[in-house]
Subunit: 222 residues, 2 copies
Amino acid sequence: MRLLIIEDEPGIAGFLKDGLEEEYFAVDIAYDGKNGLDLAMTNEYDLIIIDWMIPVISGIEVCRQIRKSGSLVPIMFLTAKDTLEDVVFGLEAGANDYIKKPFAFEELLARIRVQLRSKNQGDDSLRAGNLNINPGTHQVFYETSEITLTPKEFALLEYLVRNKDKVCTRSRIIEHVWDVHFDSDTSVIDVYITFLRRKLENAGCGNLIQTIRGVGYIIRES
Amino acid sequence: MRLLIIEDEPGIAGFLKDGLEEEYFAVDIAYDGKNGLDLAMTNEYDLIIIDWMIPVISGIEVCRQIRKSGSLVPIMFLTAKDTLEDVVFGLEAGANDYIKKPFAFEELLARIRVQLRSKNQGDDSLRAGNLNINPGTHQVFYETSEITLTPKEFALLEYLVRNKDKVCTRSRIIEHVWDVHFDSDTSVIDVYITFLRRKLENAGCGNLIQTIRGVGYIIRES
DNA sequence: GCCAACCTTACATCAACCGTAAATATTAAT
DNA sequence: ATTAATATTTACGGTTGATGTAAGGTTGGC
């Protein structure tokens, strides 16, 4: 899952990036509104966190612009202010949630998961057949046995399962799971698909990930 | 469906080509306006994407020249500028749509499909009798059973169905399904027609593609 | 019957993908 | 700080599968 953080204080931005990467998110940072808007328009994020007070273009304006472009990506505000008007303003501008500074990291994380879950309609855990993925604990189970994955392996599998029954093209995988936008000249994806397949096979869950030659990969339900 | 991209930055051009080829488009690239115009005049594209700022001949001039030649091919502009005058200029010059740089690949793809659809008046999914083609997922169904096709097979069938009830000449087929690297004067088309007929036959959908001797092929509705 | 166009099959070529291993980067432990 | 362990990336030969070529067989029109 890929997040964008638009926050001008390097301290907070770094703190968030580190914390969220530990939770296996791919995180991009912009230090002002203009840059943030650019990134938001050029990439497909799964969630965007915007500070209220940022230079060049205000947070609320960034939010409006994103919505104006038709995007439905979940947006969360970080705000020092907490008066009623501000909240109303933020929600009117198209935000999905907001959190007051200072905040506990745990709370932010919980709210992020709520947004990502609602995006995925309903169910908390991700499934594909008898495979069960828990984004909160980063655990993967096939039937009763747990499969141990490294962070990148987990992120890749999570992405494929979230998009089950849809073909995941190489460009999209590299955008969402890695932070890369251009360099299409690498074979990391292949290697990680191999890693995943081996571990799944060993757990008795073979043939889950199918190759679509020249395009990408797909996990088919059933 | 065959596209022409006129874009001087190799990074962006390559990124677009890769992404669009994953979507089964045949893609040609020109790195300047002169070259682009040459290609546009000598080949029959289904859509042309032109960057505003390109060397030798400007994007807008390329667009004007194409229109002057009588072609109605959908043209999309990539533009860093976004002032009203530029848009008006672009549309006056005969463009069908424009998209601001930087842009999300998803959005570009959506707009491309809109242009291709409107060309085909209306319906989103392609049909011929009980055969159903989905350009978004690259799937083909006959009644309830899915037919698995390779990219070239798919592209050929898609073209024939988009032009159902019209005779598709060999040269037209080559123009739209293969790209500029194609070495004419071979029997690839015949071979792929054979491949398609076999797979369709196996799915119970025989006699769909008819031969018009000396001219080409046709799929008749009903 | 003759010719040209088309169909079919077999094979060659090329690019994508797989799998392994080695190199590099990161993290944890001493 | 150094070392060890683990994770990630790169490199590369082998394999597979899609695509293109060529050649011989078949069909249809004259």
